[in-house]
């Protein structure tokens, strides 16, 4: 494929430029509670206007935009609804060895959570498989308190 990059003038100057900042994000009641329970190795969803349990808990209903407040604890294992295999992880990815991104519908939840699955190979992944949480050793508050998911050992 003819990828044309125009750099006929060799002496055009270029220089590295880094945009970096340690943003400090205030969380508010819903996200704050979710991360607090994550730190205690519990996962809480929130009930939407139509009764669906939404995980992770959104502050406002995705359909009616109503303010949500009723928390519901959900399971720490669930079903993969879709996945994608990363053979070459990028520096910021949650895992640095080949892994799968997945949307995981946890037991008791009606929507899926986006996270990484530490599977041995792409062939180990399929929609509908069950995976469970692998908790981070030292939680700091945030989605990475879930280090990743791992396939549930078949019974």
């Amino acid at each position: 494929m003819s990828d044309l990059s125009v750099s006929t003038q060799a002496e055009v100057l270029s220089a590295p430029h880094v945009l970096e900042y340690p943003y400090k994000r205030s969380l508010g009641p819903v996200i704050g509670r979710f991360f607090t329970s994550l730190r205690e190795r519990r996962i809480e969803g929130i009930r939407g206007s139509d009764g669906r349990v939404i995980v992770p808990p959104t502050e406002y209903d995705p359909v009616t935009s109503e303010t949500l407040s009723e928390f519901v604890e959900v399971g720490q294992a669930g079903v993969v609804t879709t996945w994608a295999w990363v053979s070459q992880p990028r520096p910021n990815h949650p895992l640095q060895q080949p892994f799968a991104w997945a949307l995981v519908r946890l037991d008791g939840a009606d929507t899926a959570l986006l996270h990484a699955v530490d599977a041995d190979s792409e062939s180990a992944m399929r929609t509908g498989m069950r995976v469970r949480v692998r908790w981070a050793a030292a939680p700091e508050g945030g989605m990475r308190d879930i280090e990743c998911f791992e396939p549930e050992p078949s019974a």
Partner: protein, 351 residues
């Protein structure tokens, strides 16, 4: 609704990396060509609106220096959206409906080669639940592609056929960055980027710009032989969290098409802004596009994807076909956000 038409469209050749020129230097000749072709003298343009993204350039206010490409003196009526130029076109269309202004210059530009668009796109995501995991744009698109494969009869070969057709059509497009003859069988053997998407299922990294001139009523007829009239234009957005959406459907595209009156007549051609091959399949279904509608004769975003201009280019390409008489009724589509979360439909027709 006041009659408004596209009377000119210009774009820069899409390139992997333009080391020679900065954004303004790429944009200036494109705007000059659109103005020259649009027939409305620069100083008489009633409104100017542009789309760009600071983060793409890595500096705040990158759109301010772009004003130099427009010649904003004496001072002009001007606005800017931090969105694809297609939304700047929508704002200009609305501005012309007010009635006190008869023409508008719209442009979109971006150099995706300066930063890494796969990571920059992460900062669009939910800053608490998604962005901290850094799921890059190809990873999210791959999740959508897998969901489509599971829920429909489509196969990875169908993805490859979209790519093969696009890159073959792109051979006739002088501004395409990637083009050529590839067989679907050959393409499905290529290595995955993030499975199930292969490198060619994904858009190229591109530097580029595009500009359009809009004119209302008699002015459009005066300056353009065959104006591409905007029969309808609308855009809609869906909920953000991926886990709460049905990624295999595009309800916002379907709703925008309905509101824009796309179904009120047969279509000759559709330029769909589908940066990933599987997204064209989702959009074709959402918009009910049958075999009779030519899809992406320009090669689409798979052949050239200057972020912040690629959506405007779709509308420009569709309008171009109406203006040169090869299409009577066409649709241009633009998308924004992860996995087609927000979609705009612009219906163009000859009158």
């Amino acid at each position: 609704m006041r009659e408004v038409a596209l009377v000119a469209f210009a774009q820069s050749p899409s390139v992997r990396q333009d080391l020679r020129r900065n954004e303004v230097e790429i944009l200036t000749p494109v705007i000059a060509e659109a103005i020259r072709w649009g027939g409305v003298p620069r100083k008489e343009i009633g409104f100017t609106c542009s789309g760009s993204c600071d983060y793409l350039a890595g500096v705040p206010f990158s759109f301010v220096s772009a004003l130099d490409a427009v010649g904003a003196w004496p001072p002009i009526r001007e606005s800017h959206v931090e969105m694809d130029g297609a939304w700047a076109l929508y704002e200009a269309w609305v501005r012309l409906q007010v009635g006190d202004v008869d023409s508008a210059l719209v442009y979109g530009f971006g150099k995706s080669s300066v930063g890494d668009p796969r990571d920059i796109s992460v900062l669009q995501l939910d800053p608490y639940y998604a962005a901290p995991l850094w799921p890059d744009s190809v990873s999210l698109a791959a999740l959508q592609a897998r969901a489509l494969l599971q829920s429909s009869g489509y196969t990875e070969r169908d993805f490859a056929e979209v790519v093969a057709r696009s890159l073959r059509d792109a051979k006739r497009n002088p501004n395409a960055q990637v083009s050529g003859d590839f067989s679907p069988d050959e393409l499905v053997k290529a290595r995955y980027d993030v499975s199930p998407l292969r490198e060619h299922d994904c858009p190229p990294v591109s530097d580029g710009a595009a500009a359009v001139v809009l004119a209302a009523g008699d002015l459009a007829r005066k300056v353009c032989e065959r104006p591409a009239w905007i029969a309808g234009i609308d855009h809609r957005i869906e909920a953000h969290s991926l886990g709460a959406r049905d990624l295999t459907k595009s309800p916002s595209a379907a709703l925008a098409a309905e509101k824009a009156g796309m179904g009120k007549g047969s279509l000759d051609v559709a330029e769909l802004h589908a940066p990933f091959s599987h997204q064209e399949l989702i959009l074709r279904e959402a918009l009910g596009l049958g075999e009779s509608v030519a899809i992406n004769p320009s090669g689409g975003a798979l052949a050239a994807n200057p972020i912040m201009a690629a959506g405007l280019i779709r509308i420009g390409e569709a309008a171009q076909l109406v203006m040169d008489g090869s299409a009577k009724r066409a649709v241009g589509h633009a998308t924004s956000g992860p996995c087609l979360q927000q979609n705009l439909i612009c219906v163009l027709e000859a009158r």
